[in-house]
């Protein structure tokens, strides 16, 4: 379930030597039905409200396109920068845990009205974020959420059997580590501050930030050293 690419389940190179390619496009992908279903009520409402706002001169189409582009441009890089700073600056980390929004703004993050709670992983605790009611996510800090984050399977299962779900993401937690699930039920949004990997002493913030990906800030993964660095750290 942790895969984002639902459209490519039958893609290339999966060893289906004897798989029939009937019904497939020339490049081997299944044809998908056109989306000819009628608009849902919510889609019709969105279009009607948007057109009214434009018609009445409250916003322009260009402003709407600009707002969408601004949202699309956001990425987990800003979150990674926050994490790397917290790893290298204990005073910053203290401010981040006390008031996540203020500390994110300190680094120049344009997070709008985001009310951020930062939860810290350590040797005894692993945190993982979910929104069981919808898909609340710190979008202004991490960009758009992955598809699986919005799906019922993740949203319902991670509060019932978090260890099993994390294991499906490839993260097997030791027994002595307690799991803390955070359900974003209301006005707060959450960011996991992962533990800094061993063997990164003396690394620059930029190099550290490159270790921090989206999944580790949701809590379904932990930052790991690239294979070569891991060997160097161990040796």
């Amino acid at each position: 379930m942790p895969h984002d690419h639902h459209d490519h389940d039958h893609g290339h190179g999966h060893g289906h030597a004897h798989h029939s390619h009937e019904g497939m496009s020339p490049s081997g992908h299944p044809y998908r039905a056109d989306q000819d279903a009628p608009l849902t009520d919510a889609q019709a409402l969105e279009i009607a409200v948007r057109e009214l706002l434009v018609e009445k001169g409250i916003v322009t189409e260009a402003q709407i396109a600009e707002a969408i582009a601004r949202m699309d441009a956001r990425s987990p890089a800003m979150g990674a920068k926050v994490v790397a700073r917290a790893w290298t600056d204990p005073a910053y980390k203290a401010r981040l845990l006390a008031d996540g929004s203020a500390a994110a703004r300190e680094l120049g993050a344009d997070i709008d009205a985001l009310k951020l709670v930062v939860v810290e992983n350590d040797a005894a605790t692993h945190n993982v974020i979910v929104c069981t009611l919808c898909s609340c996510y710190p979008r202004t800090l991490l960009g758009l959420p992955p598809d699986w984050y919005k799906q019922r399977a993740y949203r319902s299962r991670v509060v019932i059997e978090p260890r099993r779900v994390l294991s499906e993401f490839g993260l097997d937690l030791p027994d002595e580590v307690a799991v803390r699930v955070h359900d974003s039920t209301a006005d707060m949004r959450y960011l996991v501050l992962p533990a800094r990997p061993q063997g990164t002493e003396g690394w620059s913030e930029e190099r550290l930030a490159a270790l921090v990906d989206r999944d580790s800030m949701i809590g379904v993964a932990v930052p790991r050293l690239p294979a070569g660095d891991e060997a160097a750290a161990a040796g």
Partner: protein
Amino acid sequence: MAERVRVKDWRPRGFHLRTPWYLRGKTGVIERRLGEFGNPEQLAYGLPAEKKPLLRVRFTMREIWGDAAERPDDTLDAEIYAHWLEPVADAETTDAP
């Protein structure tokens, strides 16, 4: 000692509620107080919204899922509005983290 609260087991229908069903009637401890926020039950309908205190409450998986819990001592934190919470007397034997 952490302050214990129980989520009210209200079952109103047809409203925009931010209290998940799986936590209704469950007891936890206040993890932190977050300040006051407009009541989503009014905001969702464009009504003037009263400011309501919002709290983070920590529950054990044992309290939420009982014997079916994957790991009874793991915990779950959720934001619950104060009007959905009621105090729990210390004498009551409930499970809290």
